[in-house]
Symmetry: C2
Amino acid sequence: MGERIQWEVMAFQWLPAAVEDRLEDVDTPALILDLERFEANLQRMREAAARLDVRVRPHAKSHKCPEIARRQMGAGAIGICCQKVTEAEVFLAAGIDNVLITNEVVGGRKLERLAQLGRRYPAARLGVCVDDVEVVHRLAGTCSREGARLDVYVEIDVGQNRCGVATPAEVLTLAHAIVACPSFTFMGLHAYAGSAQHRRRVAERRGAIEAAARKADEARAALSAARLRCEIVTGGGTGTFMYEAASRIYNEVQPGSYVLMDTDYARNDQDIDAPRFDHALLILATVMSVRGDRATLDAGLKAFSTDSGLPSPAFDGWRVANISDEHTVLHRIGDRPSLHLGEKVLLIPSHCDPTVNLHDWFVAVREGTVEALWAIDARGAVF
Amino acid sequence: MGERIQWEVMAFQWLPAAVEDRLEDVDTPALILDLERFEANLQRMREAAARLDVRVRPHAKSHKCPEIARRQMGAGAIGICCQKVTEAEVFLAAGIDNVLITNEVVGGRKLERLAQLGRRYPAARLGVCVDDVEVVHRLAGTCSREGARLDVYVEIDVGQNRCGVATPAEVLTLAHAIVACPSFTFMGLHAYAGSAQHRRRVAERRGAIEAAARKADEARAALSAARLRCEIVTGGGTGTFMYEAASRIYNEVQPGSYVLMDTDYARNDQDIDAPRFDHALLILATVMSVRGDRATLDAGLKAFSTDSGLPSPAFDGWRVANISDEHTVLHRIGDRPSLHLGEKVLLIPSHCDPTVNLHDWFVAVREGTVEALWAIDARGAVF
């Protein structure tokens, strides 16, 4: 793509820190990864997966970072998910050899890029979802020309009201179209109940997943009656993966946020059996102006997203009063200690995925010292 | 910075289009710049500035793009504003020779980077704001060591309740500290009434700027009484710049969004004398799934910001029902024509600045054909 373009790339690259820097010397705003909490989150998911006897395929759309994907694989993940072809490109290039695009891919350039990835990494498993037979045929033609093989999943709508087919009959039509294509391996069903993830009450989330599992089971039964092998039923996020696993209909789950966590997920009521994930993702900001009971930080809408609410100070005595593009204004609550000009403070983001997508680096910190910078290579991988 | 880091940069670079592509062949989600509207916006600002007899220093935090800055300079701008030292770095490197950082700079690394920029571009005017005397002294020391010269402005708080000093006495203290430093040229006052920009009623915006101008005038009078020359009073955004200019207290205005426009600014009641700016910034998305009266687009929170509301379809008959990280779900209103799988559609963003900051390229389009790709070099320039 783009061969005819004359363009000038200045390729500025700003680094927030150097290895061995103290946290208070990291430039701001910076995305901090607390390594102890991060590693504990990985371990808790590994233990939960073993207990639940389910394959874990973490969603890499949350972190967009090959180094985190490698560590998830090291902690027992069987592969990763992503949402975009360009994300898949990043993770395949980084050596992750099992990538599922949990999304439909529509458009000539995207289908070509997908097929080219399949050809370029013949030893990897690369999967994609479909919900339209026309796309199956177009992708099959492109893969055939490229000599590429792909794993293909039918997406069913289990309450998200977004993409996916609604009935077992549609699943069958698509599955027959897939198995008829020599470039494809029909793998099974993608059945993600996204809108269930942030229902606050345990009973609501559990009920939504029971309904989703029933829909997935109907589709699976229809495939079985048609003698079409459905190897995988995949879905589930950080808020519900225990219920998908417990259903025994799903045999693979896709939690993403667990490894970073945010305040939106933390607001869910917790099931007594659920692993507790800690906030490993933080925003470091500098106090850049102090006036009485007001302190202004040098981080705003270009350092964290607010679609799921304001970020929360990771310290007591101050609340977020308002936010603009490059600033956050804090107000003091009661007579708590003041903040000082130049002081570095931590905020907990409300929604990890779009917050990470604003940054180029995770600053990985252990006991107050920078241990590594991890590139967010799939930042901006929207295509 | 970062000399000790061992890091691996994959440097993926995805291009949404090639020159001469038709709009419908541009990959999605993409940031589209409608060149005819963009050029008309530039021209309208040029005419308004001439009529109002005011210097225009457009705010480049909105577009982060050297090519747009060059065109603003070509249309009469005397320089640009930005918010971050790393943004200034991008625009100075691109040949923009008059850059004002309309913000305080706090922290050792940032002050060093700022002074280094001053040294590296001795023929350029590089300005910065201060609201604390300790920062003045630290910056002076750093500039002295680097052999750098900077223009320095005192920020006064004219109702934003964020940064800036509150009283003429504080202005005087800072101005005396600035003029005492041989590395600095004291330029005047930065007096930006940010919270006035989106007050919907004309009378509210006009009243807020009258109050801001009175505060600026008090500070200017105090400087004059102390025989301190105040050459520039600068401030004003797209929502109010006519009022700053009309005050005759301000002699420089800083509109940013006018050149791109968004639905948040479009919701302001318009003054009869104000220039009308059109939506030159659009998001192109692909219809990736259609089910009855529901269509799903391949653009979500990683393609536009929602801090100022949902994006608006640039076509009739459909409304945004919900948004997630990579998707927008549209619902059909009444019996309007259907959307088709693979169709490309345009959305108008609610807030241009954080939307632009998600993308690497403007796809500059004229009469349905791609004329150029303009790099958003200051994307991610948060430091």
